[in-house]
């Protein structure tokens, strides 16, 4: 029995040495210990999907949508070790109010001399570009879809469909505009004019804010602010962005602008696994599987959004 026990001990020692040698064979980066980083660095903020205020509907009160972005920006504002922010945008835009809230929050950080660099992913159009314009520097890929500067509101006109099926709506309203954008009837010229005025005001605000963020004249922006989309290369020619490059290039630029070392830590936006699981479950139950599925949720909203 002693021999068996001794043999077991020897096998255990061999196993420890074997595993240790396998680890040693690997490159230094492969066995990098995940020690917490500290010191002045760059914070990452991610804006993914349609920009909407959807904070209260989240499980256990965890903010989502624009509120989550603003919460992350507030954390960065309080964190003295974050000297620069890379705003990773992959969004076709969203509602006017939510977009403006993020824009204003970014401006607040910019005024506090925190360097802001926007990095555009697949899409950073309309409201996605709006928030990018609040940054000191914008980096986009060649193939990024951006631009789409404009405001949109729409609703389907189902009057003829209703007539065909003999459906009539009973509407009791307190004012003549209370059922503006109603789907069961044609829009009146007064209603169209009222909405157009609202759209124009939001559009002008959009142009003013871009001009402010990009340090450009409004007159230089208006010719290309007709809702057109463009890729990164065209956006660079039109001075809507500052550089063509990747997310990593944006991080390096942020470090450079904030006078940080090239190996300064990058503080990633980390949702806890618990939050991610709950978020995924909620999305499955609500059928929110991606950007595309949200396209038809936005009736009766005025949006800075690129309609795909």
């Amino acid at each position: 029995m002693v021999a068996i026990l001794a043999l077991l001990a020897i096998i255990a020692v061999i196993a420890v040495v074997d595993i240790g040698l396998k680890i040693e064979k690997k490159t230094k980066s492969d066995i990098k210990m995940s020690l917490p980083e500290f010191g002045p660095g760059v914070g990452i903020v991610r804006v993914e999907g349609a920009i909407e205020m959807s904070g209260t509907g989240s499980p256990f009160g965890v903010p989502r949508g624009a509120e989550a972005v603003i919460k992350r920006l507030s954390e960065i504002e309080r964190d003295s070790s974050i000297k620069a922010v890379v705003l990773r945008i992959n969004s076709p835009g969203g509602t006017v109010a939510a977009t403006q809230e993020i824009y204003e929050k970014l401006w607040k950080l910019r005024k506090k001399n925190i360097i802001l660099v926007a990095s555009m992913g697949d899409v950073a159009a309309s409201g996605g570009y709006y928030i990018a314009s609040a940054c000191n520097f914008i980096v986009a890929n060649y193939g990024t879809i951006t631009g789409s500067i404009g405001v949109i509101a729409y609703s389907p006109n189902l009057k003829r469909l209703f007539d065909k099926f003999g459906i009539q709506m009973n509407v009791i309203k307190s004012g003549k505009y209370k059922d503006i954008l109603a789907t069961h009837r044609d829009m009146t010229p007064e209603e169209r004019s009222l909405l157009q005025e609202m759209i124009d005001l939001s559009y002008n605000k959009f142009i003013r804010d871009i001009a402010l963020g990009r340090n450009m004249n409004q007159e230089d922006i208006r010719p290309i602010a007709d809702g057109r989309v463009m890729n990164g290369e065209t956006a660079l020619k039109n001075k809507l962005i500052d550089q063509l490059g990747t997310f990593e290039d944006a991080i390096l630029k942020a470090k450079e602008l904030a006078a940080l070392d090239a190996d300064a830590p990058v503080y990633e936006q980390n949702d806890s696994p618990f939050q991610e699981i709950l978020g995924s479950i909620k999305n499955i139950f609500q059928g929110e599987m991606g950007l595309g599925s949200e396209l038809f949720h936005n009736t009766d909203k005025i949006e800075y959004r690129y309609m795909q």
């Binding site: 029995m1 077991l8 196993a15 499980p59 479950i281 909620k282």
Partner: protein, 201 residues
């Protein structure tokens, strides 16, 4: 005294009988010559260490291995002892429920020695890992095999302890597992229902 006991090598009999004759093992435990209670806790400690080694051999080695070998091993050991204490207590309570005399100290000792064969998973698995012949399959296969062996030792120990047949001692052994299973199942169902209700609200 302790040194003399160690030199006598009588303590190795417990390990030998654990794998060859579990009924004789219990008789030796009852004789307390030497008292194997403290010695028996070496087994979960070694088993925890060997578990970590097996998992490290089975998986992708990372720098985390060194952490696992230090505080990770202590945590696994504490968890293993916790499981043994809880389960032995439940088995002892079940035995008392059937009218037998409880003895948690002896029950714990039997439980500890029962996991001794599980230690052999390391050399057996190591062999298949070295020759790279379906190590994943043999890990699962031998884990099941050693678990059955563990159950056999534990049940025979209970049988000898209360002088009852194998079937009755198996019932005493399995009832706490069924109880825990039902409780965990009900808790899971309740948590899932509550969670889905809360998320979809």
């Amino acid at each position: 005294m302790i040194l003399e006991t160690i030199k006598s090598l009588r303590w190795t009999d417990f390990f030998l009988y654990a794998i060859t004759d579990p009924r004789e093992l219990y008789r030796r435990i009852r004789q307390k010559d030497p008292d194997p209670f403290a010695l028996s806790f070496i087994i979960p400690a070694v088993a925890s260490l060997f578990d970590i080694l097996v998992l490290s051999l089975a998986g992708k080695e990372t720098g985390f291995f060194y952490y696992k070998m230090s505080y990770g091993w202590i945590l696994v050991f504490i968890y293993a002892v916790f499981k043994i204490v809880i389960y032995s207590s439940l088995v002892d309570v079940t035995a008392q429920f059937f009218g037998y005399k409880g003895n948690i100290r002896e029950m714990l000792t039997i439980a500890n020695f029962s996991i001794f064969p599980g230690i052999f998973l390391l050399p057996v698995f190591y062999l298949f890992a070295v020759i790279d012949f379906a190590p994943g399959f043999f890990y699962v296969f031998f884990s099941i095999l050693f678990f059955i062996w563990y159950v056999m030792i534990f049940v025979q120990g209970i049988s000898e302890m209360h002088s009852i047949d194998f079937g009755k001692s198996f019932v005493i052994f399995i009832l706490p597992a069924l109880f825990i299973g039902i409780v965990v199942f009900l808790i899971t169902v309740l948590l899932v229902i509550t969670g889905i209700g809360f998320i979809t609200a």
